[in-house]
């Protein structure tokens, strides 16, 4: 069984002792955590805010990794789930006075239900057809949010203005820093959950469906159930990210959840590495910062510069940041291995 666990990460493993790899991963995680915890105390509060947003996008991208990278289904409609999550949190806080912290699980559950239900008809669609169906969802969402049917709750085009929570227990940190740590904690928790899903029986079933649906069915996997579940879980991750973003921005409006956001998340997914959960963080950083970099190069041609950067990145890292990292790690380890005593 253990063999099967790692088999999907194919080329990377190439007969290296897994203990060595594990210890590298462990040290990497420790280093990442130390830096991540220290950062907010050294940076300006608006950079802390930007990093919080990047982590929020990363959480949404983890949802896409599960759906696309692991299960092989496409979605160009995750902005819709992001929006549903944000609005669930906003309406609960604004209309019913629910504490922000309770809105997060609720947003997750609501999005799971929506994702699961959307997954049902999506079952009949494959590849580009599914992409098109989810695209429709992304296009429809801002208009649905504006519609007079829900205006009573959603505030229509006006949106809803929210209040950012202060740090609890009188902690001596700003609300920006508190939201950063909260997002970091939730993000880590969700990333660990996602990794456990991938490494479980369920994860193997999802991968089997991606790689060969007929063989998967022959092995007794209920394909429809797992596919809809994948959609639901993916929407759950994205919904929680949406709820966090609503509070971080302190405002939700239909125009925040347009098709551009869906494309942004998709770009983040591909740039990070479709199958890697940790690389979602790189995807999140890319989504947030690269448009800013492009703009600082040339305001008039920001879109074109963004395009060039994107093409270069895809060209140089065809399997995303995760692929590049794996390649580098591989080379270093191989070298160390050859030199060191056997």
């Amino acid at each position: 069984m253990a063999q099967q666990d790692i088999s999907f990460s194919d080329t990377a493993v190439r007969g290296l002792p897994s203990v060595e790899q594990n210890s590298w991963a462990l040290w990497g995680t420790v280093l990442f955590l130390a830096v991540a915890i220290a950062l907010p105390f050294f940076l300006r509060s608006f950079v802390v805010f930007q990093l919080t947003l990047a982590m929020i996008y990363a959480i949404a991208i983890i949802g896409l990794v599960l759906l696309t990278g692991i299960n092989g289904q496409f979605s160009l409609g995750h902005s819709a789930f992001f929006g549903i999550g944000a609005y669930t949190a906003a309406v609960l806080m604004d209309q019913f006075g629910v504490s922000f912290y309770w809105t997060l699980p609720v947003a997750g559950v609501v999005c799971f239900v929506f994702g699961f239900l959307f997954g049902l008809p999506a079952l009949r669609l494959e590849g580009i057809y599914l992409a098109l169906a989810t695209f429709a969802l992304a296009i429809a969402m801002p208009q649905i949010l504006k519609s007079s049917l829900f205006e009573h709750w959603t505030g229509g085009v006006q949106g809803i203005v929210l209040i950012k929570p202060d740090a609890p227990f009188g902690l001596p940190i700003s609300s920006d820093q508190w939201l950063y740590f909260l997002t970091l904690a939730i993000g880590l928790m969700l990333a660990v959950c996602a990794m456990n899903i991938v490494n479980s029986r369920t994860g193997r079933a999802l991968i089997a469906i991606r790689d060969n649906p007929i063989a998967a069915r022959a092995m007794g996997i209920d394909i429809s159930l797992y596919k809809t579940l994948a959609f639901g879980v993916s929407a759950l991750f994205t919904g929680i990210a949406g709820a966090l973003s609503g509070v971080a921005i302190q405002f939700v409006a239909p125009d925040s959840f347009t098709f551009n956001l869906a494309i942004g998340l998709f770009v983040g997914l591909v740039v990070g590495g479709v199958q890697s959960i940790p690389a979602a963080l790189f995807g999140g950083l890319f989504v947030l910062f690269v448009p800013n970099i492009a703009e600082s190069v040339s305001k008039g041609l920001a879109g074109a510069v963004y395009g060039v950067i994107l093409i270069l990145v895809i060209y140089m890292m065809p399997s995303g940041a995760a692929g590049l990292a794996r390649l580098v790690a591989d080379k270093v380890l191989m070298k160390a291995h050859r030199k060191g005593p056997r």
């Binding site: 519609s147 229509g156 921005i249 405002f251 125009d255 925040s256 347009t258 956001l261």
Partner: protein
């Protein structure tokens, strides 16, 4: 020292002490110094509303002109404009970058109702001016709750009130039918008209028909409005629907007095598709000069604007109202900064912005920019105009649509 001499010395010394600081002391908040005034801006340079980005670029060109001519009170204006792609989250991020990283003195002309709503609370908490926002919503003049936010252009409600005055004056016994977009923009207009009509609103308005932006046409609404027997049609629609409404009304032979909101008064993109002969006689209102209108050919204000466009913004579209808008709003800010003198604190910026009384070159003659500590609506006057089959012709006097406050 004699008693008298001692007294004199004390008096002069005292006087000197009280006078000198007032003369020499310069007061600065972040973003201002002896040599520079930093102002921030967000505009949609990319995304669905990127056509508006022209306004941000015109403002940049105007401050290039100001700097080339020596700056404001000897200080250069450093205009930092970021793209928000018309997305509220991006607007918040960029506004925070402007305030916390670039440390601008103020944010000027952020564009769009959603983006401005998103940053309003933050700007007011930080006490950084959110000055002359580019939206027609009515909520930007709420000086009691948001003393750091101020609008600029006439609000939709102001315009609605102006149509009400026009009706009360020249057609007091008419029956009004309203077509409006079912959102804040449409409802603001309707509220303005109703408030303006006052007690007579109930008896004069005989039909109201909302439409959704998702509706394919407004044909059925027009038929219903005609059936109400109204002889005045108040048309509160965005360009595509305005065209449809004008055309449909002509098709079914409904010829009411037609009031068209100025959002859709473009001849090229609204009236032409609807048929110029169908649009003949329609009324609307405006506050800026139309640069393509031959009547302003020898107007000094227009000449100055043309010279500016030729020298500092040769790529800019001279037929677009956005370049006229950007130029005029930038002039307004330049005046505020000039009035601030050497006291470039955020508080003084708001104080000076709230004490304007300005005539500007590209405003229609008679229209003024006026503010006070209790009036955060700079432009509240407009002029009625009528379409003669080719262009808009001003009619009547300047009217005021002040929204009480």
């Amino acid at each position: 020292m004699s008693r008298r001499k001692w007294l004199w010395t004390t008096l002069t010394l005292g006087a000197a002490l009280t006078v000198t600081p007032a003369l020499a002391q310069k007061k600065y908040d972040p973003g201002a110094s002896d040599t520079e005034i930093k102002i921030g801006n967000t505009n949609p340079y990319s995304g669905p509303a990127s056509a508006y980005g022209l306004i941000g670029k015109t403002i940049g060109a105007y401050f290039n002109k100001v700097n080339a001519e020596g700056g404001i009170n000897g200080r250069k204006v450093n205009y930092i404009s970021y793209d928000d792609a018309y997305s509220p989250p991006k607007a918040v991020e960029q506004a925070r970058k402007l305030v916390e990283s670039d440390e601008v003195l103020l944010i000027f002309q952020p564009l769009g109702t959603p983006s401005n709503t998103a940053i309003q609370k933050y700007m007011n908490a930080k006490k950084v001016p959110q000055l002359f926002v580019a939206t027609g919503a009515t909520k930007w003049g709420d000086y009691k709750h948001f003393p750091w936010t101020m609008g600029w252009q006439p609000t939709y409600q102001s315009e609605g009130r102006i149509y009400a005055q026009f009706l009360l004056k020249s057609h007091p016994n008419s029956k009004v039918a309203i077509l409006y977009q079912n959102d804040d923009y449409g409802k603001d207009y309707v509220k303005g008209l109703k408030d303006g009509l006052g007690d007579k609103a109930k008896s004069m308005i005989v039909a109201e028909a909302p439409y959704e932006t998702s509706d394919p046409t407004v044909d059925s609404q027009i038929i219903n409005l005609k059936a109400s027997g109204a002889d005045v049609f108040f048309n509160v629609t965005t360009p595509k629907f305005a065209s449809q409404a004008i055309k449909k009304a002509a098709e079914i032979g409904w010829k009411p007095l037609h009031l068209l909101n100025n959002v859709s008064q473009s001849v090229g993109s609204v009236l032409k598709p609807a048929g110029l002969e169908n649009a003949k006689g329609i009324y609307s209102s405006y506050y800026l000069k139309d640069a393509t209108d031959p009547q302003w050919k020898n107007d000094p204000g227009q000449k100055e604007w043309t010279a500016f466009m030729d020298k500092y913004f040769p790529d800019g579209d001279k037929t677009s109202s956005f370049t006229v808008y950007g130029y005029t709003v930038a002039q307004t800010l330049a005046q505020v900064l000039k009035q601030c003198g050497d006291n470039l604190t955020r508080e003084n910026v708001m104080k000076q912005a709230a004490s304007l009384d300005l005539d500007l070159g590209m405003l229609l003659p008679g229209i003024k920019i006026k503010t006070s500590a209790t009036d955060f609506y700079p432009i509240e006057q407009m002029k009625m105009q009528q379409f003669d089959g080719e262009r808009w012709v001003p009619v009547g006097d300047v009217m005021s649509g002040a929204v009480g406050g």
